[in-house]
């Protein structure tokens, strides 16, 4: 069966992570993605080096997020570049952009500008904090959105300061939300022939990530979730939920009734209110779990049906994970479908690598 989005063309004006993540998902499911980049260096992510690792001169991150895409360099501030962009859009299905609010209007490529050109256009926008309001002009960067969203007080332990999630959770979740909205719009388009403007922001995506907690907080008199003194993993769940240091290694324990866990740990009198007595209960469990290596506990408790897992490093994960770990290395489409999907490309395009071919294919004027 064909990849579900084969035949669809996405014009992607976005940079860095959130927007390119959304177009990567569409690409992995069969769409063609054309990156429109500024001639002066292109996507800023090309030069955004993390850990100083590079492939073909551009950052590994750039390749990871732009693998399989095509690139054309256009100066959108010059009439010729703008005209070329409009011609591309007129022949495409989806546009994605993540400029700061106001910028796309100044360029003349806002949804409203393009509707006369292509009334059934599907158009996706990602901002940091929405298009209006106090933060709309603040930089829409992952760590900063995490900082504002209250999420940094959910991880780590009671005596810690704020603990960010150590991966770009705002970017990735906002990109995923946009991909969902665009796909719903494609479905709508197939039935009605109508276009749609889909919008989300880093902050909305982070609130969606926290929605279980936020709903609880909004309904409990705004009593904040309490992190445990050690091994904290969920501010509103009672003992034993959390991470425990063992004789060697660490063990994660999920929801398990205390009267079931107690006998298995030779703590027959392990009892109490799982939330109110959480610290005391967890301290008893901690002392007991220190007696053996995490690996032994995982085998022993797991065999009894207790929801537990040893905390692994990436080397251990790779060695032990089998499928789906090997299927996701190097990172690829995180879902499987009946039918061929996924791009085999492992690197992103060079800046303007496909410029000449795209100019010919889409009838754009040759590069000056």
């Amino acid at each position: 069966m064909s990849a579900p989005l084969s035949g669809l063309t996405v014009i992607d004006f976005s940079q860095f992570l959130a927007g390119p993540y959304a177009s990567l998902r569409l690409l992995d499911m069969g769409a063609r993605v054309i990156k429109v980049e500024n001639p002066d260096g292109g996507d800023l992510c090309r030069r955004h080096y993390v850990s100083d690792t590079r492939i073909k001169g551009a950052s590994t991150l750039f390749h990871a997020i732009n693998r399989g895409k095509e690139s054309i360099a256009l100066d959108l501030k010059a009439p010729q570049g703008l005209d070329a962009a409009r011609r591309l859009i007129a022949q495409a299905d989806i546009v994605i952009q993540n400029f700061r609010p106001g910028v796309i209007q100044r360029l003349g490529l806002a949804y409203e500008d393009l509707r006369p050109l292509k009334p059934d256009l599907i158009y996706g926008s990602i901002s940091g904090y929405g298009e209006s309001g106090a933060w709309s002009c603040e930089p829409g960067q992952d760590l900063l959105a995490q900082a504002r969203s209250g999420l940094m007080w959910l991880s780590g332990n009671a005596d810690d300061g704020p603990v960010p999630v150590g991966l770009p959770i705002a970017d990735i979740s906002a990109g995923a939300c946009l991909a969902q909205g665009l796909l719903a719009a494609l479905f709508h388009h197939a039935r009605t022939g109508k276009g749609t403007h889909v919008r989300t922001s880093l902050l909305e995506a982070l609130m969606d990530m926290q929605f279980e907690f936020l709903s609880t907080w909004l309904s409990n008199g705004e009593a904040p979730p309490a992190r445990r003194s050690e091994g904290s993993a969920h501010g509103y769940l009672g003992a034993p939920y959390g991470v425990y240091a063992c004789a060697t290694g660490h063990l994660a324990l999920a929801m398990t009734p205390l009267d079931r866990l107690g006998p298995l740990l030779d703590l027959p009198d392990l009892a109490g209110d799982p939330f109110k007595d959480r610290e005391a209960l967890c301290q008893r469990i901690t002392r007991r779990l220190r007696d053996k290596p995490a690996e032994a506990w995982e085998a022993e408790l797991g065999a009894q049906g207790v929801w537990c897992a040893r905390v692994l490093t990436w080397d251990e994960l790779r060695a032990k994970g089998g499928d789906p770990v090997s299927r996701m290395l190097p990172p690829s489409l995180p879902l499987r479908m009946g039918g061929s999907v996924g791009s085999s490309a492992r690197v992103g395009p060079g800046l303007d690598e496909h410029g000449s071919a795209l100019r010919a294919e889409f009838g754009l004027s040759p590069k000056r």
Binding site: L144, V163, L167, Q180, S215, T216, T313, W314, R336
Partner: protein, 382 residues
């Protein structure tokens, strides 16, 4: 915009939600917010286990509050899938559906007779979504696919927190929510394809793949960096692979986040020659030293003082807010991110809305989650 208003993109679609707890129901919730009719199929004795998973002692009309937040706006029918009569009724319902979602462990649905191949024969247009912890093969397929456990196995717990900390899991169900998002994407892509080919498809997602997708940036670094386990920063870690000053810092009256910034520029702005004295490559090679020096400078003044200086110069920084501060902020108000849900009996709770906006409209649905079996009589043929 209200439920099933014609303008919603998925209006008219029927989704059967056989899933429990989080990832599956949250995927169905997203489809519901986008306009689909979602029918939960639950076992008669208690239904979705999440109904009784009371977090923080909070309930709404007898069911746990979190159940309502995952299942608002849906319908509920009950059926005992082990009874032939009930199974026949559900097969008849499946014949009318566009999508079904389940998160039974691998093999369970096949044994019931509702595996993909059996269902495809019944309804070739159906898109079938399956959620698992670790996929349908591999060493972990029969172990519990729970968010914290997958965070533990996937190395995520070693990305948060500081170098001297033990593993620090993310304190909310990030992998369940991410997995739900992947399922929604796969289902919608298959629905788009169905518009052309007329046939449905199978979409399988799992929490472990979602974990690897979430870490794809760092994992790609790991794979291209001699497989060195990433080392968290000594203090204020926010991403092990980011160079100084990236991270969290304490001012005299609170915390602030500082993203990427060249060291020379930062030193100038903070009037701190000891920062400017570092070479830019020290941002990687002497990361902890640099951050310690930046930290010493920032801890001497109030947060706002620094945010104004840095912000005016275009440096990416922000205050670290807690929920009371966040909920009171103008930025929060501008997003209008909340909605109130109501049960038919009038009990109310506030929750977040769908994070996707369509044609300038937010997607809201005031319905609470259904009582167990509330729609059985109306939907299932007797």
């Amino acid at each position: 915009m209200t439920l099933n208003a014609p303008a919603l993109p998925l209006t008219g679609l029927r989704v059967l939600d056989f899933a429990q707890f989080l990832a599956g129901p949250v995927a169905a919730l997203r489809l519901c917010d986008l306009g689909a009719e979602v029918i939960k199929v639950e076992r008669p004795d208690g239904g979705d286990l999440c109904r009784s998973m009371v977090v923080n002692d909070q309930r709404l009309e007898g069911d746990s509050l979190v159940f309502h937040t995952f299942n608002r706006g849906k319908k509920s029918v009950t059926a005992d899938l082990k009874q032939p009569t009930d199974l026949d009724r559900i097969r008849a319902l499946i014949a009318t559906a566009d999508v079904m979602i389940h998160n039974f462990r691998p093999g369970v649905m096949d044994r019931i007779g509702l595996g993909y191949d059996a269902v495809r024969a019944l309804n070739p247009r159906l898109v079938y979504g399956a959620v698992s912890g670790y996929g349908s093969i591999g060493p972990w397929r029969d172990t519990p696919g729970q968010d914290l456990l997958v965070q533990a196995l996937s190395g995520i717990a070693w990305l948060n927190g500081n170098a001297d900390d033990g593993p620090v899991p993310t304190g909310f169900a990030m992998l369940d929510v991410a997995t739900a998002g992947h399922l929604v994407q796969g289902i919608l892509a298959c629905l788009v394809r169905r518009g052309i080919t007329g046939t449905g498809g199978l979409v399988e997602v799992d929490l472990m793949s979602a974990a690897l997708d979430m870490t794809f940036e760092q994992f790609t670094c790991f794979l291209n960096d001699d497989n060195q386990q990433p080392r968290r920063h000594a203090q204020g870690n926010a991403n092990p692979y980011q160079p100084a000053p990236y991270g969290i810092y304490r001012a005299t009256d609170g915390w602030m986040a500082l993203a990427m910034c060249p060291l020379a520029k930062l030193g100038d702005l903070l009037d701190a020659p000891q920062i400017a004295a570092f070479a830019q490559e020290d941002a990687f090679t002497r990361l902890d030293e640099v951050k310690a020096v930046v930290s010493k400078v920032l801890e001497t003044r109030p947060r706002q003082h620094w945010l104004e200086i840095l912000g005016a110069a275009g440096v990416w920084c922000a205050p670290v807010l807690d929920w009371p501060e966040f909920a009171a902020s103008d930025g929060f108000a501008a997003l209008d991110p909340l909605q109130t849900i109501r049960t038919p009996e009038g009990a109310e709770a506030r929750t977040t809305r769908c994070p996707i906006r369509i044609d300038g409209q937010t997607l809201r649905n005031p319905a609470a989650a259904p009582a167990l079996g509330a729609d059985t009589a109306a939907i299932l043929t007797p």
